[in-house]
C-alpha cells in the first residue's frame, strides 16, 4: 500500500475528476491518493466519482485556497 499525490491546481471541473480517474488506473487496491485542487466543485465531484466507482472518500483538508481530497483505492 502506497500513498500518492496528484496536482490538480487551477484545473476546473471536470478536469480534476478526469485526472483522478486516469491516475487511479495506475494504482493498486488499498493505495491512498491525495488530490490537490483549487476548484471548490472538486469537493463534491471527486467523492461522487469515488463512490460510484467503488473507491473510498477518506476525507478532505483545506489549506488557504487549496483543497486536499483523499481517496482510498477500492
Amino acid at each position: 500500500m502506497s500513498e500518492y499525490e496528484l496536482d490538480a491546481r487551477r484545473m476546473l471541473c471536470p478536469m480534476p475528476v478526469i485526472k483522478t480517474q486516469n491516475k487511479v488506473k495506475e494504482l493498486q487496491t488499498g493505495d491512498i491518493l491525495n488530490v490537490i485542487c483549487t476548484d471548490p466543485g472538486a469537493l463534491s465531484d471527486i467523492p461522487a466519482w469515488a463512490r460510484i466507482n467503488g473507491h473510498e472518500f477518506v476525507g478532505h483538508d483545506q489549506q488557504d485556497d487549496e483543497l486536499i481530497i483523499t481517496i482510498k483505492i477500492g
Binding site: 476546473l12 471541473c13 460510484i52
Partner: protein, 350 residues
C-alpha cells in the same frame, strides 16, 4: 443461462439521459455511463470563478446523475479530438458556433469505440436520451438515422424515450430489450418526460434545455470568432477557451485584446495566467487584474492601461499608476489618465 447484455449510456447529466437509463434498468439491463468533456461543457467553471456565483451549487451534473442512477460513469477528455468537430463541421453550425449534429455523431462514434473495447465485458449497445423533435438541429426525425449511420453505431444505437417512433434496433429485434416497454416521446413538449420523472421518483435534476454547451451561447460564440479573427487562424488551446468564459473582453486594436476581471474571484483566477500572458494592474487604486492576449507593444500601454483604469476605483481620478508586466521582462510602471465611459468605444467590446 442467457447472456446478460449491457448498455453504455451517453450521460449529459440532464433529465432525458437519466430517464433513458432508468427505462433500461427497469428491464433488468445493466448500464454504465459515458460522458465526454469537450472543454465547452457548461459545468461549475464560472461558478468556481466568480464571486457572485460562490453560493451556487457546484457539482458535475453527469456524476451526480450517475450516482442517482447507481451506475458507473466514465468521463473522457476529448478536448483535442473535438477541435476537428468544431472547426470543420460537415453538417454546419446551429444558431451560433454550435455544431450540434456533428457533435452528436462524434460522441456516439466515441461510444461505439468504447463498446468495441468493452465488448468482452458484455457491452453490446448504446443508449441516448434523444427525443425526436426535442432539439432543432441534432434531434429531428431526419437526423436520427444520420447520427446512427455516420457514427458507425447503426442498429446498436437505441433511443429508449422515442424508440417506438423509430425502426426497431438490434437490441429490440434480438429481444435483449422489450420494445413494448419503450416510449414514443416526440416534440419539444417536456410534459411526458416530467411525468416519467415523477413515476421514477426523480425530483431533482438539471434542465440544460440547450444550455449544456457554451457554443450555443451567442456571447461566447462571438468571443470565439473574435479570437480567431484576431489571430488570423481558426485554432484554439484549452487555455483560450477557458479565458473566453472569464472577464470583460475588449479589443481596442485588431492586434490585441484585454481580458478585464469583473470581480475579485476573476482577478484571482486570471493571476494564474500572469506567467503566460502580459498583464496590467492599477497599483495606486483598487482595480481588476487584466490580461493582454495578442501582439502588445509600448505604444499600446497608455490606451490599454487607460481602459483598465476605467474599471477600477480610480476611474474618476486625473491620473492613476499602473504596472505592465510582460512575462520574462522587467515590470514597467506608468502613469495614465483613466478613459471616460464615452472614450471606451462600444465597438471595442467583444
Amino acid at each position: 443461462m442467457a447472456k446478460q447484455h449491457k448498455a453504455v449510456a451517453l450521460i449529459s447529466g440532464g433529465l432525458d439521459s437519466m430517464l433513458a437509463v432508468r427505462v433500461l434498468q427497469e428491464q433488468g439491463i445493466e448500464v454504465e455511463g459515458i460522458n465526454f468533456y469537450t472543454g465547452f461543457c457548461v459545468e461549475g467553471h464560472t461558478h468556481a470563478i466568480r464571486n457572485h456565483d460562490k453560493d451556487k451549487q457546484k457539482r458535475n451534473n453527469a456524476l451526480w446523475a450517475a450516482e442517482q442512477l447507481g451506475i458507473k460513469l466514465h468521463i473522457v477528455d476529448v478536448i483535442e479530438e473535438y477541435k476537428d468537430v468544431l472547426l470543420n463541421p460537415k453538417h454546419g453550425y446551429g444558431a451560433n458556433m454550435n455544431p450540434c449534429l456533428d457533435c452528436k455523431i462524434f460522441m456516439v462514434s466515441k461510444a461505439v469505440q468504447w463498446v468495441k473495447e468493452n465488448h468482452t465485458n458484455g457491452f453490446d449497445f448504446i443508449i441516448t436520451g434523444e427525443v425526436i423533435g426535442q432539439r432543432p438541429m441534432s434531434q429531428r426525425k431526419q437526423t436520427m438515422p444520420i447520427v446512427a449511420h455516420e457514427s458507425g453505431a447503426d442498429d446498436i444505437l437505441l433511443r429508449p424515450l422515442c424508440a417506438k417512433n423509430l425502426p426497431a434496433t438490434k437490441p429490440e429485434i434480438e429481444g435483449w430489450v422489450d420494445r413494448e416497454k419503450l416510449y414514443n416521446f416526440s416534440g419539444r413538449n417536456r410534459k411526458p418526460q416530467m411525468a416519467l420523472a415523477k413515476e421514477f421518483g426523480f425530483t431533482d435534476y438539471a434542465s440544460p434545455a440547450g444550455g449544456c454547451c457554451f457554443l450555443t451561447d451567442k456571447n461566447y460564440s462571438d468571443k470565439l470568432v473574435d479570437l480567431w479573427k484576431g489571430r488570423g487562424s481558426r485554432d484554439y488551446e484549452m487555455d483560450d477557451i477557458m479565458l473566453l468564459k472569464v472577464g470583460r473582453h475588449l479589443r481596442p486594436k485588431p492586434d490585441y485584446k484585454l481580458i478585464v476581471a469583473r470581480d475579485a474571484g476573476e482577478s484571482k483566477f486570471l493571476q494564474g495566467y500572469r506567467k503566460q500572458l502580459p498583464s496590467i494592474q492599477v497599483i495606486s487604486h483598487n482595480g481588476p487584474l487584466t490580461l493582454v492576449d495578442g501582439t502588445f507593444g509600448r505604444d499600446d500601454y497608455q490606451t490599454a492601461a487607460g481602459i483598465v483604469a476605467r474599471y477600477g476605483q480610480g476611474r474618476d481620478s486625473d491620473e492613476v499608476e499602473a504596472t505592465v508586466t510582460i512575462p520574462g521582462q522587467d515590470v514597467v510602471t506608468i502613469k495614465v489618465k483613466p478613459l471616460t465611459s464615452e472614450q471606451v468605444r462600444e465597438e471595442w467590446h467583444v
